[in-house]
């Protein structure tokens, strides 16, 4: 089976996160929860964050959607967990640049997330990938206010 251009989208590591999502579930006593959906396609995410003293102590998600949206959510929770809030937001900015196919700051190690680079070549799927990150940004914003 060969769909060469598709292989840049559906990387093995993405499918692994889709099939075996990390940090799936909800935090019982999380400091903030966010529900976000993509109204054009029905993808939805329920994200809970435990933010203490400017650090994302715990991040969990639940939801339903395509492989890209769910893998991205799994990777995002993995990436931001244990990070300072500022770093998490910076990562979101870097991810956004990556999705837009822009040059991005590579001083922060994004780990598995780099596997999502291929999404930039599929404009119809960028919103799938950014859903979880938008939820995280909203959660941190809510936590501050």
């Amino acid at each position: 089976m060969s769909f060469n251009n598709l292989d840049t989208l559906y990387r093995q590591v993405i499918m692994d996160h889709y099939k075996n999502p990390r940090n799936k579930g909800a935090i019982e006593d999380g400091s903030v929860t966010i529900d976000m959906n993509n109204p054009t396609c029905g993808d939805r995410i329920h994200l809970s964050l435990d933010v203490e003293n400017g650090i994302v102590k715990q991040a969990k998600f639940d939801g339903e959607g395509c492989s890209i949206s769910m893998a991205s959510a799994s990777m995002m929770t993995q990436a931001v967990k244990g990070q300072e809030v500022d770093t998490a937001l910076k990562m979101s900015g870097i991810f956004s640049d990556m999705m837009l196919g822009k040059e991005y700051d590579d001083s922060i190690d994004l780990g598995d997330i780099e596997a999502l680079q291929g999404v930039a070549k599929f404009p119809a799927r960028i919103k799938c990938a950014t859903l979880a990150w938008k939820a995280m940004e909203k959660g941190i914003d809510q936590n501050d206010s």
Binding site: M1, F3, N5, L6, L9, Y10, Q12, M15, K19, T40, C41, G42, D43, R44, E64, G65, C66, S67, I68, S69, F122, A124, R125, C128
Partner: protein, 409 residues
Amino acid sequence: MNVNEIRRQFPILDQEVNGHPLVYLDSAATSQKPLSVIQTLDEYYRGYNSNVHRGVHTLGTRATDRYEGAREKVKNFINAPSTQEVIFMRGTTTAINTVAQGYGREKVSKGDEIVITHMEHHSNIIPWQQLAKATGATLKYVPLQEDGTLSLEDVRETVTKNTKIVSIMMVSNVLGTMNPIKEITQIAHENGAIMVVDGAQAAPHMKVDVQDLNCDFFAFSGHKMGGPTGIGVLYGKKDILNKMEPIEFGGEMIDFVGLQESTWKELPWKFEGGTPIIAGAIGLGAAIDFLEEVGLEEIEKHEHHLAAYAMDKMSQIEDMTIYGPADPQERAGLVTFNLADVHPHDLATVLDAEGIAIRAGHHCAQPLMKWLNVSSTARASFYLYNTEEDIDKLVAGLVKTKEYFSDVF
């Protein structure tokens, strides 16, 4: 019906997408446009673009003649008794909202009921939700049968003497179900309610006769039937329209304007405030000419054939779930499905890489998705220019998709 000849009339189909010949299976979202429609728009803008109903000059007269000529074509197309009952609007959504606000706000009050079904498109749900909220009326849903059809018994049970409006789609954009509108209209009338029909998926594909249906309102969009976007039609019975207030006020729709009071033009213009959708209406007229030349009966037959062919081939793929009536003769030319545990988005992306355009998502029918107990589905929809070969390519693409995802997992 010569499909190859028809295909030559749709220049957009003759192109490659992602290195493959385009297979367009998303006509329920919007149809492609025949050359005659494109040329008609071109002629209008090059030759006689002008505002209507106001000019003394020649171009204005030409534009008015063609605009009103298009209304005559629509009248004949749906067998309306009079052009006074044919109102040009932006599309089905605007048409239904106009009824909900123009008729509903006046006639519906607390304790009344509005009846729709579980299969409706958002454009035939939300206007009624808003009306119910504003008036204190109750919005009731006719349940669906296991196979995604309506039973008249359920309709009879849901519609009561308190029901003021029944609004139901003629053909489901997801299930392909063709609803018994004539019988439902009778039930609505027996209870003193008016019948509104969302005809968006019906008018492009089959002969519609609003007098035979006896419905009070019938709404449809031009862009799903070969016409341009931004033009649609609201048909309404004259005696109801005459008593109904416009919801848009301004130019074009007025008779006399005073400092404190104004009066409206007669039908249909009192509902066409502002400069009308001139090019759109003329383009829709050209689309109607095109469809009638091919023949609506022929188109319907062709689409039934394609639906039957697609259901047969697709159901041979393992782990394929097809939604809606099982008998292809009982459904319109579209197939909504899910394949194994491949998410519809992923499916649509893989097919797109093969040049095949399908729809994936909730199809603007979230309550129906809930009823089907899925978050989204994939849909292939057919029109007069589709062929068995298109479906063969779809089926081959689906088989490949399945293999692809079993490989990468």
